[in-house]
């Protein structure tokens, strides 16, 4: 298990006041909150900051942590010394904020798991009655854009905390084969009835919600149910018009390009976006590319154009 330097994570000095620690936490929490931050490691950082704050915001836990001494380095292999917390009195109450299961082994070896509060109570907050509908679960599944066109079956592995008879919490893995319906869009949820936590007593199980996220595609961009593709076009195709092949997530199609097509124009292929009612559109954005003048013959052609075509690309700039 690795030692964690909570002060370093929070970016504060070891003698920081409780107020300073709170300010640092608020700042970092806003910066790395997964709903707000676009940084790729936001979720990880947010959890780390949450854990550090959990340890430092409570003067009792902080004093105990400080007592481990300052010789430890972050990442160093760590085992708590025996009786390390002797003489410290934790006034219970367990921890607040994020889910208990999210804390690191290091944190749990110091402060235990959910001490003081019963796990089931803590997790649901609803204890009335013996019939209780199971909790809903939420997870994310990443699919390819093509899956939204054709539908697909995905195996999704989920980890859920399970409380055994003696009250210990373990994580249980289960794999579900889930049909991704045709026509799903980025950010949509799929609800699987009865696949959440089992209910207590006679109550039904909760539901499982899967959030759909598209893997970044190397040629397509997605906006809602519309799909965009940049299409490289040769100068003569754009100038004279042509019929060219365009890939779509549904297969290759022939596209007629009008004479005089310009870079950045939007050509709409109706109903070739993500299927649905109504289906989205596919937008082709032509981008005129120049053949390189890497042979004498090519250079000759460019020179000929220069001589024979009276063309000033900067006429609109007045020069």
């Amino acid at each position: 298990m690795d030692y964690k330097d909570y002060y370093k994570i929070m970016g504060v000095e070891k003698d920081a006041s409780q107020d300073e620690i709170k300010r640092a936490y608020r700042k970092l929490a806003r910066k790395y909150h997964p709903d707000v931050s676009k940084e790729s490691d936001a979720e990880l950082r947010f959890k780390e900051v949450g854990e550090a704050y959990e340890a430092l915001k409570d003067p009792e836990k902080r004093a105990a942590y400080d007592q481990l001494g300052s010789n430890w380095k972050a990442g160093q292999d760590f085992n708590p010394p025996p009786d390390w917390n002797a003489g410290f009195e934790f006034s219970g109450g367990g921890y607040t904020g994020a889910d208990d299961a999210d804390y690191s082994d290091f944190f749990e070896s110091l402060f235990g798991r959910g001490f003081g509060s019963s796990q089931a109570h803590h997790r649901t907050g609803r204890t009335d009655g013996y019939s209780l509908r199971g909790e809903d679960h939420h997870a994310k599944v990443i699919i390819d854009l093509e899956d939204a066109y054709q539908g697909a079956t995905r195996a999704v592995t989920l980890q859920s905390p399970v409380v055994d008879n003696s009250g210990h919490v373990t994580t249980k893995q289960r794999t579900l084969n889930i049909k991704i319906p045709k026509g799903v869009k980025q950010g949509q949820r799929i609800r699987l009835n009865g696949q959440g936590s089992p209910g207590m007593g006679q109550a039904p199980a909760g539901d499982l919600y899967l959030e759909i996220e598209f893997k970044q595609h190397h040629i397509y961009r997605v906006d809602g149910h519309d799909v965009y593709i940049d299409l490289p076009v040769a100068p003569w195709e754009a100038a004279l018009g042509a019929t060219v092949k365009v890939p779509t997530p549904d297969g290759v199609v022939d596209l007629k390009i009008a004479a005089g097509t310009k870079t950045g124009q939007k050509l709409r292929l109706k109903a070739r976006g993500i299927p649905g009612k109504p289906p989205g559109d596919l937008y082709v954005i032509p981008s005129i590319t120049l053949p390189s003048a890497d042979s004498d013959a090519a250079k000759e052609l460019y020179r000929k154009m220069e001589q024979e075509m009276a063309y000033n690309p900067r006429s609109k700039l007045g020069v």
Partner: protein, 100 residues
């Protein structure tokens, strides 16, 4: 071995949840959802509380609101503002991605 394939329901603009369904989906109290509606952070269809219908988009917002309150200690007005701004950022980013 026989593989069991599960079928789900897409929760989208057409899917509508009642007040009690959205509460279960968020594990939240009805009072809290009602407060969000009164703050203008959630926009259900229907004028009377017992006729409220929430779209899939409302569900996402309600869950984000919960996390913002729990993790950042925002109050209702702050949550409503953050949700509006997040919406705006999302639409700007998707427009921006057309040009990148």
């Amino acid at each position: 071995m026989n593989i069991k394939i599960l079928n789900g329901i897409i929760i989208d603009e057409q899917t509508e949840l009642s007040l009690s369904e959205i509460c279960t989906a968020c594990s939240s109290s009805a009072e809290w959802i009602i407060e969000l509606v009164e703050e203008g952070a959630l926009d259900p269809i229907g004028s009377q509380q017992n006729q409220w219908r929430f779209t899939g988009k409302c569900l996402l917002k309600a869950r984000t609101a919960m996390r913002l309150q729990r993790d950042l200690g925002l109050n209702l007005a702050g949550i409503a503002l953050a949700l509006d701004l997040l919406d705006k950022i999302e639409s700007l980013e998707s427009r921006l991605s057309q040009f990148e």
